[in-house]
């Protein structure tokens, strides 16, 4: 079952992706003011949602990891943290491409841009600590993940609290039906792909942990056997 779900999700994404491309480029017209560049919206916004979703997932998994010392939660946190980096990078590249075309400037130090950049950096720090930290650093990394998850509502409310050049949260709600019809498949394709990748990565991490334990046991057995032979 754990193997089937990611494959199923990737198949769904493979089916939905061409539909989303058709919807975005053939069904929805060109936006009058922004022109063709507005079509970045259909992937930029879902990517940002997925980034925030996995930021929260990583934070919750880190809390469970700290409270229950759960390895499954630890594996989910690592996989979700990596997905935040991946989707965050996508958001931080597609956003400035859009900004460059519509505002004339790729980066305006806008509150939402800065808070998104901060989230990305926090999760990069999380993954680096997880990967290169000394023994026991997994607790520090979990704390970083929780800190990162706290940034998610800040990103959401940034356009409400501060005066920004970034479009407000109401833009998505006020979309005409044909734009929604193009947005849903794009979100579906990206969400299915990202969930599948997170599931695969979490399973790999869990296998790696078990394998490490198995190596330690094998070493112990080997050294015990060598001692037995010597005596």
């Amino acid at each position: 079952m754990a193997r089937t779900i990611p494959i199923l999700l990737l198949v769904i994404a493979a089916v939905v992706f061409p539909l989303s491309v058709k919807g975005i480029f053939l069904d929805v017209g060109i936006e009058r003011q922004l022109g063709t560049v507005q079509k970045i919206f259909y992937f930029h916004v879902p990517l940002a949602w997925i980034m925030m979703l996995f930021g929260v997932v990583c934070g919750i998994a880190a809390v469970i990891q700290l409270r229950r010392e759960s390895r499954a939660a630890e594996a989910v946190a690592i996989a979700a943290g990596e997905m935040v980096i991946l989707t965050g990078l996508g958001v931080l590249i597609t956003g400035p491409i859009w900004g460059h075309a519509s505002w004339g400037k790729a980066w305006t130090w806008d509150a939402r841009q800065v808070s998104t950049g901060l989230l990305w950096l926090v999760f990069v720090a999380y993954v680096l600590v997880r990967r290169y930290g000394a023994a026991g650093s997994e607790r520090l990394a979990a704390a970083l993940a929780i800190f990162g998850a706290v940034d998610v509502p800040i990103i959401y409310y940034a356009v409400k609290i501060w005066k920004t050049t970034h479009p407000s949260n109401n833009v998505v709600g006020s979309l005409p039906p044909e734009m929604w019809a193009a947005l849903w498949p794009a979100l579906g394709a990206l969400l299915a792909t990202s969930i599948a990748l997170v599931m695969v990565r979490a399973r790999q991490e869990r296998a790696e942990m078990d394998l490490d334990d198995a190596w330690v046991q094998a070493e112990d057995l080997g050294s015990a056997g060598a001692k037995g032979e010597a005596t």
């Binding site: 022109g35 075309a101 394998l211 056997g225």
Partner: protein, 94 residues
């Protein structure tokens, strides 16, 4: 309808609005200047509606990122399998 500056000149402010405080008549724009302005605006509008360069970059980067991550996971899986095989070999040897 009320306009200011160049927009007002292009739209042609109605007589009633002429006295309204914010309206400022634009002087010095000849018919040639206005036509030149409109021609430039038409070029810009055409470029906005037909230039797909940004989209190609944005979508290319986006799906490349996912593809690169997928390849990384695949290679990690292969490394894990090799690790399992070497552990099995070690256990068999012991």
């Amino acid at each position: 309808m009320r306009g200011t500056g160049l927009t007002g000149a292009l739209l042609g402010a109605p007589a009633d609005d002429a006295a309204v405080d914010e309206y400022e008549a634009v002087e010095g724009l000849s018919r040639g200047d206005i036509e030149c302005q409109r021609a430039h605006e038409a070029i810009a509008a055409k470029k906005t509606a037909s230039d797909y360069q940004h989209i190609v970059w944005a979508y290319g980067v986006l799906w490349s990122l996912f593809a690169i991550y997928g390849v990384m996971l695949l290679r990690r899986g292969q490394r894990l399998r090799a690790d399992v095989d070497s552990l099995r070999a070690r256990i068999d040897k012991a």
